[in-house]
Amino acid sequence: MKVTINGKPDDIGEGLNVDGLLAEQEVKMPEMVSVELNGDILRRSQFHSAVIKEGDQIEFIYFMGGGSGLNAINRATD
């Protein structure tokens, strides 16, 4: 069935939940991904229950973060 994933039209199997979609998209670390389904950001608990329907628009992005972690190092060496 036809859906839009990250702005691109795509054809996926029916009855996939978000977990399944991420697996099909070969997302390596699904626990580090945010998903927006038809404009709504899903809670992680919904990845299992939310089923993709025809015409759905799905966006997913990886967590973007990091940091020098200096304070942890400073505490460790005190």
């Binding site: 945010s34 973007m64 990091g66 940091g67 020098s68 304070n71």
Partner: protein
């Protein structure tokens, strides 16, 4: 989302963009500043200043809602996400172990802007599965006939 994890060989950042990054980093100091760079063919055209939801002097985190908005804006402009950058107000321009661990988005360059050396230091890296290699950063406009330019040789 980028498909294909070909490492970027170089990244060109125009002056106006580098200036915006430095200004953002200076304005946010001592907190870490962060942003997303978008463009085409290894040439940055836009700098999106992002909110550091972590609000830390040694951590940064973007907000998914803001990330989604920016990604769609980039796409609508016909551009690609080229780089994710953040500042190190108090440490060198090198990815920390945490930076490496959290470099999850494939196909983008990771840029770090350090204010620790007494002079601003900006460096770019490809980070794949824990492997870090430096990516040369070029300034300004490409020269005529440089690979990747639009203009044909004349």
């Amino acid at each position: 989302m980028q498909f294909g994890v070909q490492d970027m060989l170089k990244l060109r950042i125009p002056d106006s963009i580098a200036r915006q990054m430095l200004e953002h980093a200076a304005a946010e100091a001592p907190l870490e500043a962060c942003g997303i760079l978008a463009g085409r063919r290894a040439m940055v055209e836009r700098c999106y200043k992002m909110k550091n939801a972590e609000g830390g002097t040694d951590h940064f985190m973007m907000e998914p809602a803001e990330q989604f908005r920016v990604v769609k804006d980039i796409r609508a402009a016909g551009l690609e996400t080229l780089a994710i950058w953040h500042s190190h107000p108090d440490s060198p321009a090198r990815p920390s172990p945490e930076d490496i661990r959290l470099a999850l988005t494939p196909g983008v360059v990771y840029i770090i802007l350090s204010l620790k050396s007494g002079m601003p230091d900006i460096k770019a890296f490809n980070i794949n599965d824990g492997n870090v290699t430096e990516v040369p950063l070029l300034a300004g406009l490409p020269k005529r006939n440089e690979p990747g330019t639009d203009t044909a040789a004349s």
